[in-house]
């Protein structure tokens, strides 16, 4: 799995753009159409429900990817994402991600393996 992630990250580092976020800055809101894949270089990002912003649904930190699912499935974001502390992220454009997913077999297999692995044990993804 580390090999799959390494290949993904190498591509994201080559092709992504770096963005710096202040604490409590919003990456995206629930219901928005995804435009980027996010990779956390450092800092922390939490997913929250608007109705309960105090209790995050999930937390992501250095090395995590956010938004792969939504980019692949075309679904809108189920939660909002905000930075907890000052954070530096790399962002890969949706069109480039789709292009790589379609034409780069290694990239595609890496994404599939990584997402399958991250879902291990999550509710609804039992087998």
């Amino acid at each position: 799995m580390e090999i799959a992630k390494d290949y993904l990250l190498e591509l994201i580092r080559k092709e992504g753009i770096v963005a710096a976020y202040d604490p409590q800055e919003v990456l995206f809101h629930k219901g928005e159409v995804p435009e980027f894949l996010f990779y956390i270089r450092n800092g922390t990002v939490v997913l929250i429900e608007a109705s309960d912003p105090v209790h995050p649904v999930a937390q992501f930190s250095m090395g995590n990817l956010i938004g792969v699912h939504e980019l692949i499935t075309g679904a809108t974001y189920r939660f909002s994402a905000i930075t907890e502390i000052s954070s530096s992220l790399m962002m890969m454009n949706k069109d480039r991600f789709e292009d790589l997913f379609q034409h780069d077999v290694t990239f595609r297999m890496s994404v599939v393996k990584l997402i399958s692995s991250e879902m291990t044990g999550m509710k609804g993804s039992y087998e």
């Binding site: 997913f101 595609r108 994404v111 393996k113 399958s116 291990t120 044990g121 609804g124 039992y126 087998e127």
Partner: protein
């Protein structure tokens, strides 16, 4: 002459329900022909495991007939039903693609038929056909979203309401469009496991529903007589 070997009693992949809405929806004809000729097909008796929690996956399973329960062993060693599978569902792809062991078991609730597609063939398919990979990711995503409305949420409701909701869930999953009444053969242990209660409690509330003529029972068979009333009960505390 076609080189495809027809597996007796099992559908060809080209016309199978697994193809219609699932992972294989965007497969080319030649790809389906390869899968059809290489797959193996098995009939499972009630109670038989299609795969076991903790075992290593060597391929994926496509359920063509029958009902399957997906179970996990809880911290106290008790089996808990986490979801059900129906004909057309593909099982085991997440564990295969993540190179992990099965985190749950798939057990036949009645006689089932499933086709097994090897890891090699499935990986070939995903690497050559990006739409299949997309469909797989979409299915994973839908499974996660569905889980929000799934059995796990029953835990917050009173038992009677949970039993009503569980029966409605089964009806929606396995009911056929033109059937007048929905029936399912389900042990009281399985029903209790679904809603997270003791078997005796499940039996007591089933008796109540039977007395109110909302359901009827015959052995392990449960028939829903009044689905509208069952829906009302399931939503009483919403």
């Amino acid at each position: 002459m076609s080189s495809i070997e027809i597996k007796s009693g099992f559908p060809e992949c080209q016309t199978c329900s697994c193809k219609k809405d699932g992972i294989f929806a965007h497969c080319a004809l030649e790809e389906l022909e390869v899968i059809t000729s290489n797959k193996s097909c098995t009939t499972y008796k009630r109670g038989q495991a299609i795969f076991q929690e903790g075992n290593k996956p060597f391929g994926i399973f496509c359920l063509t007939e029958g009902k399957v329960k997906i179970t996990k062993i809880g911290s106290e060693g008790k089996e808990q039903i986490v979801r059900f599978a129906k004909p057309g569902d593909t099982l085991g792809y997440r564990a295969l693609m993540s190179d992990t062991r099965y985190s749950a078991s798939a057990i036949a609730l009645e006689e089932c038929k499933a086709c097994f597609i090897s890891s090699h063939d499935f990986n070939e398919l995903i690497s050559k056909n990006y739409l299949v990979a997309k469909d797989m990711m979409r299915m994973l995503s839908n499974a996660l979203a569905d889980a929000e409305n799934s059995l796990a949420h029953l835990a917050t409701k009173p038992v009677r309401e949970r039993i009503a909701e569980a029966l409605i869930l089964l009806m929606r999953m396995y009911g056929k469009p033109n059937e007048k009444q929905f029936s399912i053969s389900l042990s009281r242990e399985d029903l209790a496991s679904m809603v997270g209660t003791a078997k005796e409690t499940a039996i007591r509330f089933l008796s109540e529903l039977k007395d109110e003529e909302i359901i009827s029972t015959h052995g392990s068979n449960i028939t829903i007589l009044n689905p509208d009333e069952l829906v009302k009960i399931s939503q009483m505390y919403d």
